[in-house]
């Protein structure tokens, strides 16, 4: 019989090969995928989050754990779908027009993914239209905008305006971040939230979709 503790441990330590093969084994043995998720995998990622928050893990440890989580998740996903379970939520993320700084954006994307979100990465220098179509066509719950330059910050407002004029502003939450961005700026441009850090962004996204 599959060792749920071992799967937990494999994710915690970021061993993607191990987590994948343990998940496969479990599926083969007919273990309920929902219980695998709830009793091993999500608790493992929660523990990873705790270790990160308490300054014992750095981002690399967290990303590696998220990768191990993902490889197990891919195994059980088809079975989960049959049971009607759905992903936490989906986020379209990108740096706004004129802004080519992707490291912060990538970090937030990676951490959201580690937190169970599906990510639509629109890259850097992203046109407002891309965000609109992510909402319209992919039905993302959250739009996450990043800017590292004060000169590109106004681009955030443009995205919100385009969402409004496309009539989809109400279908998504908008969060903004990046070095020069402030809570007050977020409020001014009508964003739904602001986060000063990548971990804060995950918490905010969870809050948006009521999974806090």
């Amino acid at each position: 019989m599959v060792d749920k503790k071992a799967l937990y441990q494999a994710i915690l330590e970021g061993d993607a090969n191990q987590s994948k093969s343990l998940a496969e084994e479990a599926v083969k043995e007919g273990v309920d995928p929902k219980s695998l998720l709830d009793e091993s995998m999500i608790p493992a990622m929660d523990e990873v989050g705790r270790l990160f928050e308490s300054d014992e893990y750095f981002v690399p440890e967290l990303l590696i754990a998220a990768r191990a989580m993902r490889s197990a998740l891919e195994v059980i996903k088809p079975l989960l779908a049959e049971t009607g379970a759905k992903p936490v939520g989906s986020v379209a993320i990108g740096t706004v027009k004129g802004d080519l700084h992707d490291i912060g954006k990538n970090l937030v994307a990676a951490m959201l993914e580690g937190g169970g979100f599906e990510i639509v990465d629109l890259g850097v220098d992203a046109d407002p239209a891309l965000f609109v179509s992510a909402v319209k066509e992919k039905g993302v719950n959250v739009v996450a905008l990043s800017a590292l330059l004060t000169t590109t910050m106004p681009g955030m407002k443009k995205v919100i305006e385009e969402l409004e004029s496309a009539g989809v502003r109400g279908q998504t939450k908008v969060m903004v971040g990046g070095a020069p961005v402030t809570q007050r700026f977020a409020e001014e441009i009508g964003a739904d939230g602001y986060s000063a850090s990548a971990t804060g962004a995950v918490a905010l996204a969870r809050q948006f979709i009521g999974a806090a």
Binding site: Y57, P60, E61, I103, L107, L149, T151, M153
Partner: protein, 464 residues
Amino acid sequence: MPGPVAKSPLSIQDLDQFIYGSTPNPVHCRRGVEIGTGTVVPEINFTLPPIEINESTWSEIQGIYRETIDSICQRAVALEVPSFLVEFETLPPMTVNPDWGVDITRILVETLDRYHDQYGLKGALRLTPNDNRDHERPPLMRRGRYWEKMVELFERGVAEGADMLAIESTGGKEVCDDALMTGDLKTVVFALGVLSPRDMEFLWKEMVRACGQGETIPSGDTACGFANTAMALADQNLISRVFAAIVRVLSVPRNLVAYEVGALGPSKDCAYEGPYVKAITGVPISMEGKTSACAHLTHMGNIAQAVCDCWSNESVQAVRLLSASAPIAYLEQLAYDCRLMNTASAHSSEDAIRLRDWLVESDASLDPQAYVLRPDVVLRISKEIVEEETPYGQVRRAAQCTFQELKRANENGLLHLPKREQKWLNRLEPVIQELPESEADLIEEMLPNLDRSRFLPEEYGLSV
């Protein structure tokens, strides 16, 4: 591939000669500005407050630069600043549209000239076009519209009378970024030891050529996109400081390439690896630390001053503080920092060494990134670096001996590492030990794994 960097022996071999304000190969600019001849020179850098850059705001933007540089010069006169540098780092639209970069360059040159004529104020302008090449993905490093506009700004900036040309070049960054986040040291070594030096050679030959068309000094570069990214991530507790400290030293060889092909210094302020550059090449360096808290927080606030020749605020927006616009406040702060250093060194070289050592001691034990800037550590590691003949060999050697320095410092209590940092020390050891001796082996290993939608080997002269 760049030619061998034959820098052995070090330009500065004696710890007592490794001091702020003085260096074997000083730089002389117009308007009487001298760098590295005995006194530390403040370098002020300012940028725009939040504002869109476009045709309709352009005259307002020119007004901001004009007003700010004028107030800076006024304050420099009032404080009797012996000499100073102004750095103009373009914003992306000013490089894509060189007319704009040239407009601001002209405003700054004219104002420095005017204050020199009227008050004898000694000021020099460093023009730093931003490296826009990674503004498309995958970046084109040697061709395409971004590259062409950069070259245009190099040449027109020289024609406009910029005293120095500098850059924060990004070759290899497209590979390095993710590796920093995932703590993948081998890929960082590939970026800094293989890609970046190749780009530096190509880019800096071009910059030196452009400078040759006028009286502009090809000054220096920085591993900002690499080591400072690591520093910023470490400061947010996102990645390990031991890791960031090693990345810092790994960025030295790429930087050396600029001086190999004709750059003369000073290095860029945000190149915290500057002390290594100074020890090895003897060119003057610009540094930033506590007084660049306007631009980023740091754990190297004092130690960064120890062997600087220019002392900078990195960058501050022209926002209003209670006293004045922030750039004026920061010029003043830099001026007083420099006064102190120059007063001590005017007394005696022993006093200069004393002040240097206090600056060092006050930070060195608290953070590995500070520790690797200790002048003695810099000299020890630099000696090892220059024994290698290729940038890759240098990076590999730098990784090995920086690791040993940090391990030893941790063991003997000269450096206080928390447990999770010690874990990273252990984690990095095998990675460093297993770095292939041959660059070709590393290239062969890395290339197949890299995503060509984000990185093009041919842009670095690598055949696929």
